[in-house]
Point group: C2
Chain length 257, copies 2
């Protein structure tokens, strides 16, 4: 109906509009330059290749990527709306910087959203979807030993996104993505490493088991506890890293990309 079909069903994998046709033709997708630029910028930011507060110059980017400034402008504006960049008129875009207070604030809202998500999921998700969620979690648990810290973070976020999808609310999804982007900004602020990460992972099992029992209240409580732990771990490491870097001369200026 509407020009943009929300990807319904299960996971984040937007399996798209590929109707079942006999010979497996891929629906040839001509991604626009804007999308490609947005994708690359998004990755560069959440991976931490772009430092927080760093300026993202249109002209520099256009020269580096070999395209004109139009698509880059649009991509930057898109990321700004997603909360990854901030815009300063006539000066350009900068990677958003986060203080510890702001990270705290982000998590307050995140807790609200994800409590709602698990409650809805416990109420309305299909048995099949819940079972798939449990399978996915089990698989992730088995692989846990062989994951790098960055991969562990990705799996963690994927699980949360899965739960939000199960809530089945097209309104919630974009809000969650926005908040998650801020969380990733915060994560890119620290040096990822393991430590008490297994306690974080343990929280997932509590959430999933409550979901399987369709106990919304317990799932919400488990979710909140899990997020509080994640937040505290993040803030704690942020403080530790900040102390480490106090020795280095804090020369941060408008660096080129």
């Amino acid at each position: 109906m509407s020009p943009e079909d929300g990807n319904k069903g299960f996971g984040t994998g937007r399996t798209a509009s590929q109707e079942t046709e006999e010979p497996g033709f891929q629906p040839v997708q001509a991604r626009s330059l804007t999308e490609e630029v947005a994708r690359q910028l998004h990755e560069a930011i959440v991976v931490g290749r772009l430092k927080l507060g760093q300026r993202i110059s249109e002209s520099v980017l256009s020269r580096e990527m070999g395209i004109s400034r139009g698509p880059i402008r649009e991509a930057e504006r898109q990321l700004a709306q997603q909360g990854l960049l901030v815009f300063s008129p006539r000066r350009g875009f900068f990677v958003r910087d986060l203080t510890a207070d702001q990270i705290n604030d982000v998590f307050r809202v995140r807790i609200v959203l994800e409590r709602f998500a698990v409650e809805e999921a416990a109420r309305t998700a299909s048995d099949a979807d819940l079972a798939r969620l449990a399978d996915w979690r089990a698989m992730m648990c088995r692989r846990q030993q062989s994951l790098s810290p960055a991969e562990f973070v990705e799996h963690d976020l994927a699980l949360h996104r899965l739960i939000v999808d199960l809530a089945g609310s097209d309104t919630l999804r974009p809000l969650f993505e926005n908040v998650i982007n801020q969380v990733r900004l915060g994560l890119s602020l620290i040096n990822l490493r393991f430590g008490r990460a297994d306690r974080i992972a343990q929280g997932h099992d509590d959430i999933v088991s409550a979901l399987l029992a369709r106990d919304g209240a317990r799932a919400a409580a488990a979710m909140e506890a899990h997020l509080v732990r994640s937040r505290d771990l993040l803030l704690e490491r942020l403080k530790a890293d900040a102390q480490d870097q106090d020795r280095l001369p804090p020369a941060r200026k408008d660096q080129e990309t």
Copy 2:
């Protein structure tokens, strides 16, 4: 009331950079064309001058407004991120269309966000800000008789925005604006008129008085009840209007702007 005039001084902080200078010079604001276009489009949509589902053509708009297509592209993309437009690749932007189910979904999320907002406001807002909120509500109540339905809606939304500001969360604010935009879309779907609107207004007093008492739980309950009433009234009128329009031939096509 423009959607984006940071109502200063109230709760939010962000008192802007206008230092106290003697002669009252306005900080001459060179609004970019993009912002101006976005503002006009925003208003045209929430006022209902643009029908839901209608196509917004770049070229037509650029001819009408006498500017080139660049700023219009950017403004459209911005509104798309805000949830007012949807984008169909190589076809353009369309005013987002809402079904009754989607309106229901929007209100589910809105309730979650605003419950959080009043709880935070009850906990952290300053006494002065709460007093100002009460004053504002009282003034609005006195004027109530002389308001048009559209003005009443604006006042209602302004009150909710005020409360969200009082929560003091920079993370919550943009999410709320996004949700509110969807609500306005829904409102533009019906013929505004009075009826049991006074019962809606009554809900505001419950919320404000609970806030003044700093009773977060009661404020949240009042907020939820208020929003549920608003939602039900909206959905009910939507159904009634739809029946009215069933007689007219439903000729809706890609109309020019």
